[in-house]
């Protein structure tokens, strides 16, 4: 509608519309993933209904705010989904393809709206036109079976039947047609808390059957209790229904059928039951959420960070006062309050960090959708296994992970997993497996992308590396397996003979590595020719507030994030050996390379030279370990890493700066970068002659 009149939504409403439309699209996308997991022509009715409702809401919303192209597409999709949920169209490849495409086209149209183009003529509108054609061809009118309406035989109160929506009626009819029994569960609840009680009741009922409708029953006493009737369709025997409702105050009555062929109330188990209902998923609770601007979260984090510093300072003062002539009770009280503050602050800190944490499923779901499209285009049969979607990471990290993971998945599909024919010839199952997983390991999260494809051909990698001048032919033979695989991450490397359209314009693994490094993470590769490849990314959980070890190097203080510190060991200079040009020591029978930070940072040494002993802070990330040699240990603090600012840009080995109080700025080391720098440096060749 173009005439708005006085009720024209103000521009703030546009933001509201955009945010809500975005949420609807995301909900649609999430539901869509569930569809892929069923086989055959039947899709879970709850899921299809949820998809229908999303399309319907989007259509209505778009209409209200004048986004006509978006609304039109929503309408087309709604019609398709309506036919799907009413059983007039089966779920098949064409339908699924249209639904998958819809998410991206919706997103593109939404961008148009944001840019002020609501009518059409844009690239997104063209995509929408193509999609609508696809939808039209997917909607084949099915032959309508003219038969007596089974619902007429059901002893259903006409007033109840009158309240059911068309869809609910359809579901009721389906249940009756497939021979299920229909029960009515009636329960009364307090007005104040009925949704909890109803949610509990629904949850239990869903375990034994399908909930067709939830109706507020007549005859409620004014303002005190409210009664609900829940209609349930189930093939299970009555005893199971009663069992599921044990302990609840509820009356269960079966709706009788007038005609004989219907199953008796206690259906014997020998009757083949149709596909089992969704396993015990309780009815979706009305989750209360608040949309938060990430900028506000960042500000909150900063404030918490400042509070942490203030707390540390306070405790330092309390400590200093201990020696002064202050009455002990006062001093003790100061300490107590300080500790109390510290506890509360830890809770607050954890709370704010928690708000920033989002589950990886946010990005996994997006990838799962993309993967199905890419696999289909590449004509490869691929099964995706996703684990650990509930593992949480800082929101910014999760967002930054999307691109690198997408590259890795594309690589796996393009170069890793073979075509079904090739696989068959190799004795593998035609369907390739791609696994995307996340696990939490202490203060780190490990994200893996693995495939059971053909693995990485090391000889080919070397060939290409020599071709591109990344390594001299004479050195090639001497490279260890690790080094060969590391070549993959060099800029300018690509094993595809022609730049595959699917992999994008020659964006290589070096970009992936850089992206991961920006998150203070590392990436490792494990591969076996013929069997598959595994890409392992290790990341710190959060980049916000960390515990850090403060160390002294040449009279200057530096902070090392504690989550990378494995241990601290003292060593004797006499025990330091040189191996392939690097200084190493033995740590419990393993060789530990040493990095003298003073030397790395080109600092003038302070204090007497030639100390007999040194401290090594053993740090590790992924599979690597090194020992950072420092002059002294100054303690442990909570720090908030602040970036060094864009003017300065990135400084090798430094992750940022932090304020230790008294306006003393201390630099925080980027352990991952130092590790990488050290281990990849050309080992200094032993002096010859």
């Amino acid at each position: 509608m173009t005439d708005k009149g006085k009720g024209k939504p103000k521009s703030k409403s546009l933001d509201g519309f955009l945010a809500e439309a975005q949420e609807i699209i995301e909900a649609f996308s999430r539901e869509l993933l569930k569809i892929g997991r069923t086989t055959g022509g039947e899709a879970d009715p709850d899921t299809v209904n949820a998809l229908f409702r999303s399309a319907h809401s989007l259509k209505g919303l778009a209409g209200m705010f004048g986004a006509s192209r978006l609304g039109a597409l929503g309408h087309a999709l709604e019609d398709l989904l309506d036919e799907l949920r009413m059983g007039r169209v089966p779920m098949n490849g064409a339908v699924e393809g249209a639904l998958l495409d819809a998410v991206d086209v919706f997103a593109a149209l939404l961008s148009d709206v944001q840019a002020g183009q609501t009518a059409g003529g844009t690239e997104a509108a063209g995509l929408a036109d193509a999609l609508e054609d696809k939808i039209r061809s997917a909607r084949m009118p099915a032959a309508l079976v003219a038969a007596a309406d089974p619902l007429d035989a059901l002893s259903l109160d006409p007033s109840v039947r009158g309240v059911l929506t068309e869809y609910e009626e359809h579901r009721l009819r389906e249940n009756v047609k497939t021979g299920k029994a229909i029960y009515r569960a009636r329960a009364a609840f307090d007005m104040a808390s009925f949704d909890k009680g109803l949610s509990d009741l629904s949850g239990r009922l869903k375990q034994v059957g399908e909930i067709i409708s939830t109706l507020p029953a007549p005859g409620v006493a004014a303002g005190e209790r409210i009664t609900f009737d829940v209609l349930l369709g189930t093939a299970r025997p009555r005893s199971q229904v009663d069992e599921a409702l044990a302990g609840l105050e509820v009356q269960v009555a079966e709706l009788e059928r007038a005609a004989a062929p219907a199953l008796p109330a206690e259906a014997p188990k020998s009757v083949p039951a149709p596909a089992p209902r969704p396993e015990g998923a309780p009815s979706a609770p009305l989750v209360q959420t608040v949309r938060v601007d990430i900028g506000k979260l960042d500000r909150l984090m900063n404030i918490v960070g400042e509070l942490v510093i203030a707390k540390s300072n306070l405790l330092s003062v309390a400590e200093a006062l201990k020696g002064e002539r202050i009455p002990t009770e006062v001093s003790a009280q100061l300490f107590r309050e300080g500790r109390n503050l510290e506890r509360r602050l830890e809770e607050l800190q954890a709370g704010v960090l928690d708000v920033r944490m989002v589950p990886l499923s946010q990005v996994f779901d997006k990838l799962a959708r993309m993967l199905r499209k890419v696999a289909r285009d590449a004509q490869k049969d691929i099964e995706l296994e996703v684990r650990g979607g509930d593992v949480e990471l800082d929101k910014l990290i999760v967002e930054e992970l999307s691109d690198p993971l997408m590259h890795l998945i594309r690589n796996a599909i393009d170069h890793g997993i073979e075509s079904p024919e090739t696989r068959e010839r190799a004795g593998k199952p035609r369907r390739g497996k791609l696994a995307l997983g996340a696990t939490q390991k202490g203060n780190h999260v490990v994200v893996e992308v693995s495939d059971d494809g053909k693995g990485i051909d090391r000889r080919r990698v070397l060939e290409v590396a020599v071709e591109r001048g990344l390594v001299a032919a004479s050195d090639a033979a001497a490279l260890s397996e690790r080094d060969v695989l590391a070549l993959l991450f060099q800029p300018g490397f690509s094993t595809a003979r022609e730049v595959s359209e699917l992999s994008g314009r020659g964006v290589g693994l070096d970009v992936v590595k850089t992206n991961i490094a920006n998150l203070s993470g590392v990436i490792d590769v494990l591969t076996e020719e013929g069997r598959g490849t595994q890409m392992v990314i290790t990341l710190p959980i959060t980049l916000a507030i960390l515990q850090a070890l403060i160390v002294d190097v040449s009279g200057r203080a530096y902070a090392i994030p504690l989550n990378s510190v494995l241990e601290i060991t003292a060593f004797r200079e006499a025990d330091v050996r040189t191996l392939q040009g690097r200084e190493v020591i033995d740590l419990r029978h393993a060789t530990l390379p040493l990095v003298r930070l003073g030397r790395l940072f080109r600092l003038e040494p302070e204090g007497p030279a030639g100390a007999a002993q040194g401290f090594a802070v053993v740090v590790g990330l992924g599979r690597e370990r090194i020992g950072l040699v420092v002059d002294g240990l100054l303690g442990q603090r909570d720090v908030v890493i602040k970036p060094l600012g864009r003017v300065l840009g990135a400084v090798r080995g430094i992750a940022g700066a932090t304020d230790l109080g008294q306006r003393k700025t201390v630099l925080v080391l980027d352990v991952g970068a130092i590790l990488t720098e050290t281990l990849e440096a050309e080992p200094r060749h032993r002096q010859t002659g």
């Binding site: 509608m1 005439d3 708005k4 009149g5 006085k6 009720g7 024209k8 939504p9 103000k10 409403s13 509201g16 519309f17 809500e20 409702r53 319907h56 809401s57 259509k59 209505g60 919303l61 209409g63 209200m64 705010f65 609304g71 709604e78 019609d79 309506d82 007033s159 009158g162 309240v163 059911l164 929506t165 068309e166 869809y167 007005m191 104040a192 009925f194 949704d195 109803l198 409708s213 939830t214 109706l215 507020p216 007549p218 005859g219 409620v220 004014a222 303002g223 409210i226 979706a284 009305l286």
Partner: protein, 134 residues
């Protein structure tokens, strides 16, 4: 005279838009109570006497038709005018709504004037201006 209107729709953008129209109506002083679901509406209804209920049909948990049926059966709310706002995807549902006792229905999307005219009608106020009923 102050009037109370209950607006029930699961879209927050829509709720805000409609509340805006109602609050802007000059000749009435309207207090809007907005709910996102049938459940919330059931909770809000006993709290006061509403002069008008505006509800969508498609909503999670208790949907608009069930809410309407309950409103009509409940002695306290029997006489409250109910304005159904819904997209026209299921005519049957809308006809059913009218059969259940909805006072009027508006098909989404609708322009603000059509809505405010309907609201005025149902609230019993004389229509503003002389532009005539839609």
């Amino acid at each position: 005279m102050k009037r109370s209107v209950l607006v029930v729709d699961d879209s927050s953008a829509t709720r805000e838009w409609i509340a805006g129209i109602l609050e802007d109506m000059e000749e009435e002083e309207i207090e809007v109570v907005a709910c996102a679901s049938g459940f919330d509406a059931l909770r809000a209804l006993p709290s006061r006497t509403f002069d008008l209920i505006v509800t969508d049909i498609n909503m999670p948990d208790v949907h608009g038709l069930e809410l309407l049926a309950w409103v009509r059966r409940n002695p306290a709310t029997q006489g409250t005018p109910v304005l159904l706002i819904s997209t026209e995807s299921s005519e049957r549902d809308i006809r059913r709504g009218l059969a259940l006792g909805a006072s009027e229905y508006l098909a989404k999307p609708f322009p603000a004037e059509r809505f405010s005219a309907a609201a005025r009608r149902l609230l019993g106020a004389p229509p503003a201006g002389v532009s005539g009923a839609p």
